[in-house]
């Protein structure tokens, strides 16, 4: 087991990109999301037809999140994050989060566990 990082992400930062930036700041090359909760202004998911689906807030509550960060062949970091959100009436929606389209509303708390592959 590698290191564990906890971050509080401030308003208007993007959910997916902030997870990647947290890995850059902590020096993690690979990581898993261990826990996350908070809220988004609006949520934006990738739809099965290749388009996107937006859940309007504010605030959209993040109620479940799973995902990982992997170092790409060009050295960049890429997070793939899926999850479930609750809208302002408590109705739930889910899917893969679109990078750059999920701004944090009030706060986003995230815990990442560094992953040290045996043959990286």
């Amino acid at each position: 087991m590698g290191r564990v990082a906890y971050a509080r992400v401030a308003p208007n930062e993007d959910l997916v990109l902030s997870i990647e930036k947290l890995c850059v700041a902590e020096g993690f090359r690979h990581a898993f999301v261990r826990g996350a909760l908070g809220s988004l202004v609006d949520a934006c998911f990738l739809a099965p037809d290749g388009g996107t689906r937006q859940v309007r807030g504010p605030a959209v509550e993040i109620v479940s999140l799973a995902g990982e960060v992997r170092t790409q062949t060009d050295g960049s970091l890429r997070a793939a994050i899926t999850g479930i959100v609750a809208d302002t009436e408590g109705h739930v929606h889910g899917g893969p989060f679109v990078a750059g389209a999920n701004p944090v509303c009030v706060t986003f708390e995230v815990t990442l566990e560094e992953w040290l592959p045996a043959a990286a």
Binding site: V4, Y6, A10, E26, D42, L65, G90
Partner: protein
Amino acid sequence: MSDFTTAPALPRARTLVHPGPVGPIRIEHRHANQARHFRLGMAPGKTMEDAIIQPLLALGVQSASMTLLGGKLERLLYCVAPPDPTGERVANYTRPIDAGAATLIFGNATFGRSARGEPVVHCHATFVCADGQVRGGHVVVDRSVVAGAPLPVLVTTLDGIELRITQDEETHMPLMRPFAAAPMWEETSRAI
């Protein structure tokens, strides 16, 4: 010449303006070189708050991030966060909504300290309400009660990090933030 790729246009992300001064740090983070995993069974008949806090304190855990697995609750109360009509905040929690005897599907929780130093749990989850509807939101842990069987929780401790709620100037909300933890033991004298 630059390469261009065609992609469907994304919905434009909205940048909200909060009532207070913008904090200079946008990603406030700390790491623990060592962390521990515990499997916890939340005790039936207790509030979710007590069922998490009591065993963690007994284990000497100061702060932790948790994954709540599936299980039954005698009662679950939750809040959602629509726009705040007073304008004091961008969004604010509603009064607790009663989901009745609910089934937890999945949740995440953070264990830290209040501004006064008391242990607190912040939990968001998705669940099936007593009427069969699937809903989600901020769980009111001190008024939600574990039913029948121990509800399993995976605990990842954040050793060396103190999570503490402070009043956030920008959003006007009490928010959990990471600080360096004070050592649990202090050396006061040394025998030679």
